[in-house]
Symmetry: C2
């Protein structure tokens, strides 16, 4: 029986992961005995599970909070908590406090709890660790030169994860998530919001705005693929990783035009007609600095599975969010 | 008139830099008005200079110390201070405290002193940010996957330097120094010590031990070249760097055999005969994980100058340390 801790349990991915664990009852091939969900606001707990569940609210960057979470020695820790890109950029201190100090505080709590305690720690990093200029396809050995404080904090988290793993303090796997698409919920003001919006809004019979040219290419994974990455990372034989604990996750490199074609195939021309082009130079400028595609050979060789197609990404949204099958 | 601050002023490079500044009286094409040397032990101050000099002892990782150093708004800051590789590996907490917290504490003091204050900050990083496996020649876009806590702390310093520069808090240049050779002083127990020892000891009429095969290739720069890098970084037009503030410095990729041939040319066969081969498997194992050569195109294009040859590296030692001309 293993104990599982999810830090960042109130977020979209955290909730989906908790639901997945509650439904399956297993992680890394072992039965779950207990699941603790932590976030700065108290996370919702899945309705049913064959094991004990607990939700805790707190700030891991504050002294002692991480120690409390580590008290009952969780075997598997998913560290998903982060101040997101936009907020880490507008609030310098908060971004560094939560994304850097919070992560370090968690790793230090684990160090203080050892020796003899060495949990599997799955850390969600991001393709934001990369900054332009870069090649059309970014390889596994390309340097991390982030262009945001969020990306900087994630890249630092990766370095700490690798060093603490090398030291035997924890057994870390860092996974650089693609942009998650189709993100459920309401439209938001994030610069990347349109990638999901141009699919989600038409599927809900609403108009969507497309602020960039259709030639823009980007790197996507469905929420379901992301949960698959987390579960696979939790069970991975880390002897295969050597000292390089951080992996670019496989995604789909598709253009906006290809996204829209897929929408047409899955939902018909009426859905496509709800997309309105409204060029936005600011968003175009931001998107220009983003990765377009990767060559994630290591992750593929290690068994991480991308979505099969963008059509599938759309169907996953329909099944998981709109209840269609 | 500019004010200059050297943090790590008691080290070998710090002392040589201070002496160079005292002798020339200029940095970045401007006259120096004041030089402050800081270190954990009070640094020696060069005998003569046409400007005010001050030595301060303290620990920049402690609250308030960096603020005090920033109080009179130095225009150029050389941040050389670090717990070295071996000690950062054996004393985990001290390494992170000085190399990570100390660096961040300096950057934060600068942030608190702004806006309107944005010093040039030259940060000495290291080729220890790279970890095997790597190609025979490491390019400027190769990822940083350090295999020591020291290398991890330097790589984190690079990321912070880039982000604080992007934010306009400071105007940073990070320079990844090659192994410094010929390092003056007594033999030490550092795994890399023999690279200097096999030259320095014979030039001083003493026997030297060579623990690795002569085919071992490594990346070297003289102390004089290192001072050249620091001075060039202090005066660099950083608009040329964009967001990528960290540069691999040019060095010489030479094998131990080539080092010994150069010693023969410069000092004759008697010097060479003082080298005794005594294979050490531990040192050979460590050295196997070290970079052999780089392709430092960016730094060369930006005007950083390597030593002309390993013969010159030996002559620099003779001139600067043995007083020969």
């Amino acid at each position: 029986m293993v104990k599982v801790l999810i830090i960042g349990g109130a977020g979209m991915i955290g909730w989906k992961l908790a639901s997945h664990l509650a439904a399956g009852g297993e992680v890394a091939g072992r039965r779950i005995g207990k699941l603790v969900l932590h976030d700065v606001v108290e996370p919702a707990v899945p309705a049913q599970a064959a094991f004990e569940m607990r939700a805790i609210a707190g700030d891991i960057s504050l002294p002692g909070v991480a120690d409390t979470l580590i008290e009952d020695r969780p075997d598997v820790i998913f560290h998903l908590a982060a101040i997101v890109s936009g907020e880490a950029e507008s609030d310098f201190e908060k971004g560094y406090r939560v994304n850097l100090d919070g992560t370090r505080s968690l790793f230090e709590a684990i160090r203080r709890a050892g020796p003899g305690y060495r949990p599997r720690l799955v850390f969600t990093s991001s393709i934001a660790v990369f900054g332009a200029p870069f090649p059309e396809e970014i390889g596994d050995e390309f340097h991390t030169t982030p262009l945001t404080s969020y990306g900087t904090q994630k890249a630092i988290g990766e370095l700490l994860l690798a060093d603490y793993s090398r030291r035997g303090i924890l057994d870390g796997v860092g996974i650089r998530l693609p942009t998650i698409c189709v993100r459920p919920g309401k439209p938001n003001k994030a610069a990347s919001g349109f990638f999901s919006g141009i699919i989600r809004e038409p599927l809900n019979g609403q108009e969507a705005v497309l602020p960039v040219p259709r030639t823009v290419r980007h790197w996507h994974a469905s929420p379901r693929a992301a949960i698959g990455f987390l579960m696979h990372a939790a069970g991975l034989d880390t002897a295969q990783l050597g000292a390089r604990r951080n992996l670019t996750m496989p995604g789909l490199a598709v253009t906006v035009a290809e996204q829209i074609e897929a929408l047409g195939r899955v939902a018909g021309p009426r859905a496509v007609s709800l997309i309105r082009e409204e060029p936005d130079e600011t968003i175009q400028g931001i998107v220009k600095g983003w990765p377009r595609s990767f060559d994630p050979r290591r992750a593929l060789a290690l068994g991480f599975k991308p979505d099969a197609s963008f059509d599938e990404i759309i169907r996953i949204y329909q099944e998981d969010e709109l209840g269609r099958s």
